[in-house]
């Protein structure tokens, strides 16, 4: 663009810019955002759009070598300049040192922020070859990551100067326990990975959801056909009447959430209509011209309103607005309290918390086949393909086999992508129109319409004897579950079980209740209510320890559940209860921190430091329910080994971990194992990626599948029965095509047999649980993770601000199949826990974007140290259990304890915003 552009320029005058070294001519209008041009016109979908508002940095590219936000750059502003995207980083198919370092250090989890991080880092490294940590934090400060907690990203950038290369994949038999790089990591650092919005067919119609602007309203629709007729490009407007069975929900017996509201909208952001048509037409359609007549009704907001006698009902069939009343009773808590030497109690309050994955919901659907053979195919970002399939079958009144879910890469979930989002809308639209239909949520609609962490009010009371042994526990937890059930029942049952904390308490009376309000549904969010409960029990532990003059760590150690103890539900833990070891491993850090803090505080007036400790336990998998996984691994007769995994890797690393397990169980090198994941036509049901269950449940199923394959391969080679269990026999698949062979070696002797057919191994694992009785007694989970974390904080007494300086996290994971991934889960969870404690508070109708709802930035994270305790779980693969949620749970309690330790003030409401702490401190007049 060398000449001034005149008037209304358009198709006649294409813009020229250089992209990744090549000149391109762009037909898009001059004000089109560069991010849209890159993605939609040039097909460079490595550049991601997370917020479209400059708040998240996912769209960061280089413009003349400097990092910029491509979603805020009009393409005309880039005319004549050099644009570099993530696709331009690898030269001649060889990863740049920066990309290699990300891969080596596990800096990419889900991968959605990775391109932005890489471009910000590339800008820095071009100017400063060996930056220090402060420079890295400054340069990457504009890019948000919700998975990693940033630490591995910082380490990766710092390590670039050393010219890192990813380590070679571990040899056969050495995969489990190895710090293996992600098997699917390369595509995440090159930008080739395809997320929900990245692979939408060019011919797709687009779908735009019209949402209720009111917390509660009835509405009437006018003549929508007329709107379709008068709007070129608009093909159809979907309403509740179009939905074959207009209700979905997590539980088979609770399908209370309509796909499209039917005359009454029960939360702000609820879907009311869906416009389907050409993208340009629906995106420029003026919503104000739609004939919708809302009559706002008084909303029930908050627990007090929902629980008030005679409160209006959110759902007509839910008296008292009660969703579920769960509880556990063991012994005689009331009597036990009478005999306690010390009793402590408190009431704690938490807010709605948003998952804030950087990838908004996205997907597309099409109808495939005709007549009775017609099927619905949905490509979508999700955590749970099989649940999606079954839910879609319910909504569409189809057989489950008529629904085909093809998961895209998932750019972060944390529980928020366990509920359906775009699926029923694009599915319905595609089914009715016979055309491909796509939908990508905007950031505000993602935040307004999808689930949140349940706000909780937890009253906890614990008592102990004079030696500090816990005798009794009474907990009453109330949760705001929003307008529809979603995962509310899970929270109401899981919390009472975990409400004792990871401690041996003989007399227990706990209760968990969920209440409906006119808010977005509260659903699954990393911990299912347990993080809220942990804030309560850990604060009370601190108080009891203080009352008896016992060290807070020591008090916990005295009560820590160990093998042989019975839990609140009467379940005797037989193995793998490593809280004691976690605490012992933390003890030196605890002592060091206390000494350092005492020294610091002695010389400081306005700044006070403190250290706190938080413990947790977490039952792996569904609560008191079957939760099986089936995995398959096969060798084709041409010699290709493939793991067919229905378990979705949403960034946490299960693809890699399951491959490691498969490799060692089969006795094959992990580098030879190809992966097919998620597709419901190609894989078996492995259950959902939630409840920290994939390593434990699908991992075990993978181990069994690989063993089954090994057994069948040995049989095909006519090996004696049982020999396959002897790993001194080295298995290999050699040659390919028609020359493929099974090769078994031992002591210099080689046995070769041609592969004559495809051989498939299958494994099934359903962790043994039993249903709860009327008192909540039973075996709700087959295995529990344990953890303890220490937080060191600094409080500015004048301002009321809190800075977390350091976290030391000790986690009993049974066995760390892949320590990098385990650390990544702990660090990422910890930073989400920090957000829960200090920053994050979702206000319905107010904080619907990433500049009003604030998640931790790279500048907010402390140094984190992980201690991996391995108290093996015999049921799990190679002794492993789960770690996904445990990383988050102890953090907020540890931070709150540290604030109390620093200031003497116990904060009972999170987030601890500075004005709240300052008020609690008794601000100077």
């Amino acid at each position: 663009m060398n000449q001034p552009r005149e008037g209304f320029l358009g198709q006649d005058a294409a813009l020229e810019l250089s992209v990744n070294g090549g000149t391109v001519r762009v037909a898009s209008p001059p004000a089109t955002r560069l991010a849209d041009v890159l993605r939609d016109e040039l097909g460079l979908t490595g550049t991601k759009i997370g917020c479209n508002a400059g708040d998240c940095g996912a769209c960061t590219v280089l413009l003349d070598g400097r990092q910029v936000c491509s979603c805020l750059t009009a393409v005309a502003q880039a005319a004549g300049r050099n644009v570099t995207t993530v696709e331009g980083l690898a030269a001649d198919g060889r990863l740049s040192d920066l990309q290699a370092s990300f891969q080596k250090h596990g800096a990419a989890q889900c991968g959605i922020c990775t391109p932005g991080m890489l471009m910000a880092a590339a800008d820095l490294l071009a100017r400063t070859a060996a930056p220090d940590e402060a420079e890295v934090k400054d340069a990457l400060g504009g890019v948000l990551c919700r998975c990693t907690g940033y630490q591995k990203i910082i380490e990766a950038v710092l390590d670039v100067a050393s010219g890192p290369r990813p380590d070679l994949p571990p040899a056969a038999g050495a995969a489990v326990g190895a710090r293996a790089a992600k098997v699917d990591g390369i595509a995440r650092v090159t930008g080739e990975e395809r997320f929900g919005a990245d692979d939408i067919p060019d011919d797709a119609l687009w779908l735009r959801v019209i949402r209720s602007p009111h917390h509660h309203a009835s509405f009437r629709l006018g003549d929508l056909d007329a709107v379709v007729k008068r709007t070129p490009g608009l093909e159809r407007i979907l309403t509740a009447k179009d939905v074959p069975s207009n209700g979905f929900g997590i539980y088979p017996h609770i399908k209370d959430q309509p796909v499209l509201a039917d005359g009454e909208a029960r939360f702000r952001g609820e879907a009311v209509l869906a416009l389907v048509g050409k993208r340009e037409a629906i995106e420029t359609f003026d919503e104000a011209t739609l004939p919708i007549e809302y009559v706002p009704l008084p909303p029930v907001m908050g627990l007090d309103a929902a629980m008030a006698p005679g409160a209006p009902l959110v759902l007509p069939d839910r008296p008292g607005n009660l969703l579920q009343d769960g509880g556990v009773r063991k012994g005689d808590a009331a009597a036990a309290f009478a005999s306690c030497a010390a009793v402590a109690e408190g009431r704690f309050e938490t807010a709605f918390v948003e998952h804030a994955y950087i990838e908004p919901e996205a997907g597309w659907a099409r109808r495939v086949g005709k007549g009775r053979n017609a099927r619905l195919e949905i490509h979508v970002t999700t955590q749970t393909p099989y649940m999606d399939r079954d839910e879609m079958a319910v909504v569409m009144k189809l057989k489950p086999t008529q629904v085909h879910i093809v998961p895209t890469a998932c750019g972060g979930g944390f529980g928020g992508k366990l509920d359906m989002s775009v699926h029923p809308l694009v599915g319905l639209a595609a089914w009715l129109t016979g055309k491909t239909v796509a939908c990508v949520y905007t950031r505000p609609e993602s935040m307004a319409s999808t689930t949140k962490r349940h706000p909780a009010r937890v009253h906890a009371k614990f008592g102990c004897d004079a030696s500090g042994r816990l005798l009794a526990c009474e907990v009453d937890a109330e949760f705001d579950t929003g307008a529809y059930a979603s995962w509310g029942p899970t929270v109401a049952t899981r919390v009472p079980i975990h409400a004792t904390g990871p401690y041996m308490v003989p007399n227990v009376r706990t209760r968990g209740r969920g209440f409906f309000t006119h808010c977005h549904p509260a659903g699954a969010f990393r911990g299912f209510g347990v993080p809220q409960g942990a804030i309560a029990h850990e604060a009370v532990m601190d108080e009891l320890a203080d009352k008896l003059g016992i060290d807070r760590l020591e008090f916990r150690l005295r009560n820590a559940l160990k093998a042989g103890d019975a839990t609140a539900t009467g379940q005797v833990l037989e193995h793998s209860a490593g809280l004691g070891e976690c605490l012992e491993r933390l003890r030196p850090h605890w002592q060091r921190a206390q000494e350092e803090i005492a020294a610091f505080n002695a010389g400081s007036a306005n700044l006070r430091r403190g250290v706190g400790i938080g413990c947790m336990w977490y039952g792996i998998g569904n609560t008191s329910l079957s939760n099986p996984s089936t995995m398959r691994i096969g060798v084709s007769k041409s010699g290709v080994v493939t793991l067919y995994s229905g378990a979705l890797d949403i960034g946490q690393g299960s693809n890699t971990i399951l491959t490691q397990i498969a490799a060692d169980a089969a006795g094959l090198p992990m580098s030879t194992i190809r992966l097919v994941t998620g597709d419901t036509d190609l894989t078996a049901d492995a259950g959902k990626t939630s409840a920290s269950r994939q390593t434990f449940v699908s991992g075990k199923a993978t181990e069994l599948a690989a063993l089954d394959l090994r057994k069948k391969l040995f049989a095909a080679a006519n090996a004696p029965e049982g020999e396959y269990l002897d790993y001194r026999y080295k298995l290999a698949i050699e040659g390919n095509g028609k020359a493929a062979q099974i090769v078994i070696r031992r002591d210099g002797i080689t046995h070769r047999v041609p592969l004559k057919k495809d051989i498939l191994g299958e494994g099934y694992f359903d962790p043994p649980t039993s249903p709860a009785d009327a008192d909540g007694q039973g075996v709700p989970y087959a295995s529990y993770a344990f953890a303890a974390q220490i937080a060191e904080v600094e409080v500015d007494l004048e301002l009321g601000t809190t800075r977390v300086l350091r976290i030391v996290a000790a986690h009993d994971v049974g066995r760390a199949i892949n320590p990098i991934q385990v650390e990544g889960q702990i660090q990422g969870g910890t930073v989400q826990g920090l957000g829960l404690a200090l920053m994050e508070e979702y206000l319905p109708g107010r904080t619907e974007n990433l500049h009003d709802y604030l998640i931790p930035t790279i500048g907010d994270v402390p140094h984190m140290e992980c201690i991996l305790v391995e108290d093996p779980e015999p049921l799990g693969p190679y002794g492993a259990k789960g770690v996904g949620e445990p990383g988050l749970i102890p953090t907020a309690p540890a931070i709150l304890g540290a604030i109390e330790n620093a200031t003497g003030v116990r904060m009972r409401q999170v987030p601890v915003l500075p004005h709240r702490l300052r008020a609690a401190l008794g601000a100077p007049a």
Partner: protein
Amino acid sequence: MMRLPWFGFHAPRTVAEAAKILAGEGPQAMLIAGGTDLVPNMKRRHQSPQTLVSLRRVDELKKITNGSGLKLGAGLSLTEVIHSDKVRAGYTGLYQAAAQVATVHLRNMGTLGGNLCLDTRCTYLNQNYEWRKAIDFCMKKDGDICWVATASKRCLAVSSTDTAPALISLGAKVKLVSSQGEREVLLADLYANDGIDYIVRRPDEILTEVSLPDTAGWKSTYWKLRRRGAFDFPVLGVAAAIKFAPDGTVEAARIALGAVSSRPLATKAGDSLIGKKLTDEAIAEAGGKAQNVAKPMDNTDLDIYWRKDVVSSFVGYALRELRGDDMRDTRMRISRQAL
């Protein structure tokens, strides 16, 4: 959801040409420099210009020249301002303010002039169209009521520029050029305490240059309070510039506040320091006076009473730094940058 509307786009090479286009197009045309403020605002339909006039190719806006003090072209990116040795050496407050605006990638795009003209912001405004429609809009755009204070006759959106308070404390002037001619105004006079008409620049005028006076004898600083470690708009900005006599007595002092009003607030709090040395008592008195005039409203993040309560603390940091106290630890704690 609405995509950016279709419009004309001009990329003139000179200020004169740009001014001519603006005059010809009338108020439906808007200037775009870095675009970091305007582009998201257009998406939310706060502004709906028919024509954009880009200043990116106007080289004369990107100069740094010596005058009696220093002249900075309005088209300099904030990154370029930060990297100017002359700015760092003589105008510390400006350097510190520019370095704390947003993030690296936004500072690479955003310009000094753009930050001075930054539209006022508000919780009830910086939302997408559907969100605003749901509250029946607000006074600043499409509605009648100010939701910050429903009885208010004027819009209470907040000024969020970091560089303006710093430049006001430094006594900066700005040049405004139109096809009719040019004028120079004291930066402090560029703004009005009205969230809608917050700037006295006419639509046909281009802010082309910032003139800074000679700073011999002056020291300056800027302190920003924001919610998170890496970036955020200010919830408070404190800029202070003081001229010291050789014995440390204050000869002149200017304290300006950001994010507590619809304009960068030039206070008289510095007056109480004149003729005194920066004792703890004098600093506390000035802090108290600044706090009294700060009027944070419910238009951005965090509790308004808290935001007011911490003004004197931040004025204290600024003045103690100018006094020569070692504030590096405090600076690191507050801004996570060495500066």
